[in-house]
Amino acid sequence: MNTSYRIIPCYTGDVSGVCSALFELGGMVVIHDPSGCNSTYNTHDETRWYDHDSLIFISGLAEIDAVFGNDQKLIDDTVDAALNLHPKFITLVNSPIPYLNGTDFEAISRIIQQRTGIPTFYIPTNGMHDYVPGAGMALAEIAKRFVAEPEEKKADSVNLLGVTPLDFAADGSADALRDTVERAGFSVHTCWAMGDTLETLSHSGEASVNLAVSAIGLRTAQVLRERFGTPYVVGTPVGAFSETIFSAIRKAVETGENQFPLSERLHPTESGIFAIGEPVTMGSVLAALDLPGTVLCPLEDCEALLNPNTLSVVGEEEAESALKDANVVIADPLYRPIFPKGAKVIELPHEAFSGRCFRKTMKDLFNIDYDALRKEASL
């Protein structure tokens, strides 16, 4: 039971991660699942569902079709919908039942692509992982398939990678991120994937640097590095830490080397100060607060982001144990049940953890007065 969750929630799942990452790109996402409605993946995990059109579908997998391995219904329904809706691409997403059945999504994707002429691909989720690998794989697949060879590199231009409401939920966050980067003298070439179309993203090879602002963006950064040699920087430009990020971007341009400014913040981990959550944003918040401390990372697909300031934790018990001597904790409010008594708390609601519970108090990380936040917490 030591990896179970009793008194705190678990994170948004991998399937929702795919939906969130691809929501604005004009593709059709088909989740092969028995769910009769889209609520789990969309209305619960997707802040844009009520305000924007989307092309997210559930296949309505029936028990008898699962037992007999009848893939034809999925194929026919997807082809039918696609020929009516003309999506820019079709993404098939796996869920626990077809995963255990061993449904061959690669082959089904090929058949659908042959019948529709629309690029079709599969994201290997299974509903048993968190949103980071789901969203990360989805954006990386877009980078592999749709980004064109650049004719030229554009100086001082930056792609922002890993921007979804799951990590940046406050209204206007994506725009604030763009503004922050542009005020520093860079041109935001694309934003993966809020506010830009698939066509815009297809020009990402022209940017001189990629900035992975969350763990979701890392896989895409690696694909673009491999395909076009574009160096990447990992970090979120928040508060005073922005200057460090911008210096890292300039250094990446000069040297062609990837930059990990969070790894350079070597602080002792015995400070009793902890931030919990997605390691890039939370590490950057700690840096913006100019606090020595440790980021507890309960998420998957973050191995490459772990550094001396980061501690990977699996399950509630491990997180609670790691926090037992904490004096200060920066985290989503729903983590409170595992905080030690007397710890000072800075609440930063995280959509991927508490969903819509704290929408009204969701903070825009790019417009926080971090000095004031420190004073508020009496640090």
């Binding site: 391995g69 255990l100 059945n101 061993g102 449904t103 061959d104 690669e106 082959a107 089904i108 090929r110 058949i111 042959q114």
Partner: protein, 251 residues
């Protein structure tokens, strides 16, 4: 890299034939990887000279970190032996287990690291579910060979497997390379297997004699090619290897 999958009714002699075939390829200087796709994890026994090999799924089950080398045992003539393994008998899903094991091999870079010239998938019995069709899926075997005798149940199983391949032809799966007759010396054996192959527009690429020497080698825990390298049976396996490589239509 040539990837071949071998199917056929349980007990028809797949593991024995595939292991001897592996040695025949290795004798030609080819680097061979044999992957047992059966929860019993006994495909490569005759190649390992009694050495233990932990199956891929046993490593996964232990929930401890493991490496590619932990999944592999280098056997006779340098043959790279792997056993997929399976869930505890009577529980879980063996087919899903095969998928997980083959995914692990790919994820750990088994094919890139060892770079075998030939990969042999020795697959449990019939294509009973999605998991056991995994070795014939895109990215795995290029060709499927089906072992059968002239016994009706063996022919029935072989026809089922061939039918599965036909059903999946629009999915980019492996092609049917042919049938291998592993004789049981029943009546009209040649004619029955020939008819089967014609029904599927295929061919019988080899006819292996029924020989006690196979059992004798098994008792020694070795392949025929290792235990009795100068024998008619060893020669039959070498001719089968030649046929699979397209050098000889029938042996």
């Amino acid at each position: 890299m040539k990837k071949l999958a071998f199917y056929g009714k349980g007990g028809i002699g797949k593991s024995t034939t595939v292991s001897n075939l592996a040695v025949a390829f290795a004798e030609r200087g080819l680097k061979v990887m044999q992957i047992g796709c059966d929860p019993k994890a006994d495909s490569t026994l005759a190649l390992r000279g009694g050495a233990a090999l932990t199956s891929v799924l046993d490593l996964v089950r232990a929930k401890q970190p493991f490496t590619l080398e932990d999944m592999v045992r280098i056997g006779y003539k340098g043959i790279i032996c792997v056993e997929a393994g399976g869930p505890t008998p009577g529980s879980g899903c063996a087919g899903r287990g095969i998928i997980t094991a083959l995914d692990k091999l790919r994820d750990y870079g088994a094919y890139d690291t060892y770079q075998p010239d030939i990969v042999l998938y020795d697959v449990l019995g019939d294509v009973v579910c999605g998991g056991f069709s995994m070795p014939m899926r895109g990215g795995y075997a290029d060709e499927v060979y089906i072992l059968t005798s002239g016994e009706n149940m063996a022919i029935h199983a072989a026809a089922n497997i061939a039918m599965a391949l036909e059903n999946f032809k629009d999915r980019g799966y492996a092609k049917l390379g042919g049938f291998i007759l592993n004789r049981r010396n029943v009546k009209n054996e040649d004619a029955k297997v020939q008819e089967l192959s014609e029904d599927f527009h295929s061919r019988v690429i080899a006819s292996l004699p029924h020989s006690e020497i196979v059992t004798d080698a098994e008792e020694l825990g070795k392949t025929v090619l290792e235990a009795f390298p100068v024998s008619d049976m060893a020669e039959a396996y070498r001719k089968l290897a030649a046929a699979v490589l397209g050098e000889d239509a029938l042996c």
